[in-house]
């Protein structure tokens, strides 16, 4: 089965197309979506196993010889990301059943999610820089649909800004690819890596590196390009935010990590220092935002920004512990942001507001929600043995090894602020006197809580079972730090 690595991309696409055939039958839509996601998830686990046993998988579409056709590459890093994106989508869809409302379900909600997964998984899997642009567009188009679905006033206002920012950044992406093509004359990522290594350090390559940082930085939300993120992400309903927060920014982060380890390794002194400085500033801005708001959504959204900074800091030091920490933290953040959004979604559903000052005393009626939220919040802040700990530990260790003493201490300090910001939600929402009415029935509460708790359990297992994940993370790190593994897999059988 040489096409195995395409399955996590194709299966959501197939099921999305099938769903278009009967948009108004809500029950059937739900069932077919779940079946599709389960199939995709199963294929991604098989892929994970295959990559673990046989090493990096590569396939050039249309039976072309590698540098000419579009190559799809699945190394451990991308296979893990594909698996976690499908996992998160599964829980979000499950949660949507009792949360999103029938009007949206009839308006192509599930097909849009599946098309977005096609784009996300494609962007994780592709080994061709222009094809990455195409998959970015696929996921962006579906995200436009998702963000505007329902057509509320806020959504329309915010989605226009979101779309315009993304159109500009997509144009910039094409421009950058054009520059890169004029320098190396190829679009295959493995081939670009070889050609750029031959060219060596040069001014134009550094310019292209910075342009790529801008392009993916807009998608990923790094400082100073995150400006569109808090507004746009707050507009759509919770399941959509969970999906966006967990996946979309991570695609940008993945693209930065991929290009900065595979392509731009010749002028590390400039490009990676720039990346490091920007990631620190991203953390600063994220911390300020996370503390400044009383809006639950905004607090978690700014926590996305912080996480992006932490991951990119680990990637910028370019040593084994830092990189492994980044990979650990990236997957952790996908899972934990999903869980957090689902949990605060329940809080918002119960109280009918996202303003912390208007809620309180939920602990009495909803103790389970409170404790699960607390565990996930501790996981986010990185309290051992929960999932954020191991990633942050390795990132900081990498920082120390790379002689970045103050920056590493700063990352540690930022954990405290993360903890403070999420505990504030706990204190305001769960402690104190009961305020306002409780707007949902017990049955609906249980239906919403089930996916959130399952996802929270997975994040806990991810932290506790980190020991068993180390070989997988090690494989991912090896490919990132040693591009020759990636290149050899692509050109296997040609040379």
């Amino acid at each position: 089965m040489i096409n195995l690595l395409l399955f996590p991309v194709l299966i959501p696409f197939l099921f999305a197309a099938v769903l278009l055939l009967f948009p108004k039958k809500v029950k059937a839509q739900r069932i077919v979506t779940m079946i599709g996601l389960l199939f995709a998830l199963a294929s991604s686990f098989v892929l994970l196993y295959k990559v673990k046993v046989d090493g990096v998988q590569a396939l050039t579409l249309g039976s072309w010889a590698p540098p000419f056709g579009i190559t799809m590459v699945s190394d451990m890093f991308s296979a893990m990301l594909v698996t976690s994106s499908l996992l998160i989508a599964f829980f979000v869809v499950w949660y949507s059943f009792s949360s999103i409302g029938e009007a949206r379900e009839k308006a192509f909600y599930y097909p849009a999610i599946l098309f977005m997964l096609t784009g996300v998984n494609g962007a994780f899997t592709t080994g061709d820089i222009f094809n990455m642009f195409v998959f970015f567009e696929v996921l962006l188009m579906s995200s436009y649909v998702l963000i505007v679905l329902g057509g509320e006033k806020v959504q329309l206002k915010e989605s226009i800004k979101y779309i315009i920012v993304n159109i500009v950044s997509s144009s910039l992406f094409v421009i950058t690819v054009g520059y890169l093509y004029s320098v190396v004359g190829t679009l295959n990522m493995a081939d670009i890596s070889v050609k750029l290594a031959e060219i060596g350090p040069s001014g134009i390559v550094t310019v292209i590196a910075v342009l790529f940082l801008i392009v993916f930085g807009i998608k990923g939300g790094i400082f100073p390009l995150f400006f569109w993120l808090p507004g746009s992400y707050a507009a759509p309903p919770i399941p959509v935010i969970a999906l966006f927060g967990a996946l979309l920014t991570k695609v940008g982060v993945y693209a930065i990590m991929r290009t900065y380890t595979l392509f731009f390794t010749t002028d590390v002194g400039y490009t990676h220092t720039l990346l490091m400085i920007l990631s620190i500033l991203t953390i600063v801005v994220g911390c300020i935002g996370a503390l400044a708001y009383f809006d639950v959504k905004q607090i978690i959204i700014y926590n996305i920004v912080i996480a992006v900074g932490v991951i990119l800091f680990g990637a910028s030091v370019m040593n084994e512990s830092g990189m492994m920490g980044s990979v650990f933290y990236l997957i952790h953040d996908i899972l934990i942001k999903g869980a957090l959004f689902l949990l605060i979604g329940i809080i918002i559903k119960i109280t009918g507001t996202s303003d912390l000052r208007k809620m309180g005393g939920l602990m009495k009626r909803y103790p389970m929600l409170g404790w699960v939220y607390l565990v996930v919040a501790f996981g986010l802040a990185g309290i051992p043995p929960l999932s954020g700990f191991i990633g942050k530990l390795l990132i900081v260790q990498g920082g120390f090894e790379g002689d970045l003493l103050w920056q590493s201490i700063f990352i540690l300090a930022s954990s405290l602020i993360v903890l403070l910001s999420v505990i504030r939600i706990f204190i305001y929402a769960f402690w104190g006197e009961e305020k306002g009415e409780h707007l949902i029935s017990d049955k609906k509460y249980r239906h919403l809580l089930a996916p959130a708790i399952t996802l929270a359990t997975i994040t806990v297992l991810y932290g506790v079972g980190a020991e068993y994940l180390v070989p997988f993370m090690g494989d991912a790190t090896n490919v990132l730090l040693d591009p020759s593994l990636y290149i050899d897999a692509v050109f296997e059988g040609v040379k």
Binding site: M1, I2, N3, F13, L20, L21, L61, G62, S63, G69
Partner: protein
């Protein structure tokens, strides 16, 4: 609003079929010369738009009772399954095959899998374009 659009209506009745045939021609020309599913689909949908201009949205909907979302979905599935045929032969996805067949009327004809893929593209383009136009034009 009542307008005198006799000329455009009469012309459209004739021209629509020419446009339709031309779009089919462009579609089949696409393999060796300029053309293809995307352009063909656009020409076809511009023909339908001409119909909509000459008559109104509702009349056209009665003339061509087509659910364009369905067309899009079918197009996507055709394109996907054509490309996915390669999975069953365990060759890379999108691998292209062709052969020569002796068809009645047409004689010796080369048939490519790319043509089936392009059929899907044609349908998707018609479906999506008409969907968008109906969405904008629909609520006046």
């Amino acid at each position: 609003m009542k307008t005198n659009d006799l000329i455009i209506q009469t012309t459209t009745k004739l021209v629509f079929f020419i446009i339709f045939l031309f779009s089919i021609h462009i579609f089949f020309a696409g393999h060796y010369t300029p053309g293809g599913g995307f352009v063909g689909g656009l020409v076809m949908s511009s023909g339908i738009v001409l119909l909509m201009l000459a008559f109104d949205l509702k009349t056209v909907q009665d003339m061509l009772p087509i659910n364009y979302t369905l067309i899009t979905a079918i197009g996507l599935l055709i394109a996907l399954f054509t490309a996915a045929g390669s999975i069953f032969f365990n060759v890379p996805f999108f691998t292209h095959v062709y052969d020569y067949f002796n068809l009645p009327l047409l004689g010796e004809t080369s048939i490519h899998t790319a043509m089936f893929f392009d059929t899907g593209v044609y349908l998707v383009v018609v479906g999506v374009t008409m969907n968008i136009i109906q969405m904008i034009g629909g609520d006046e």
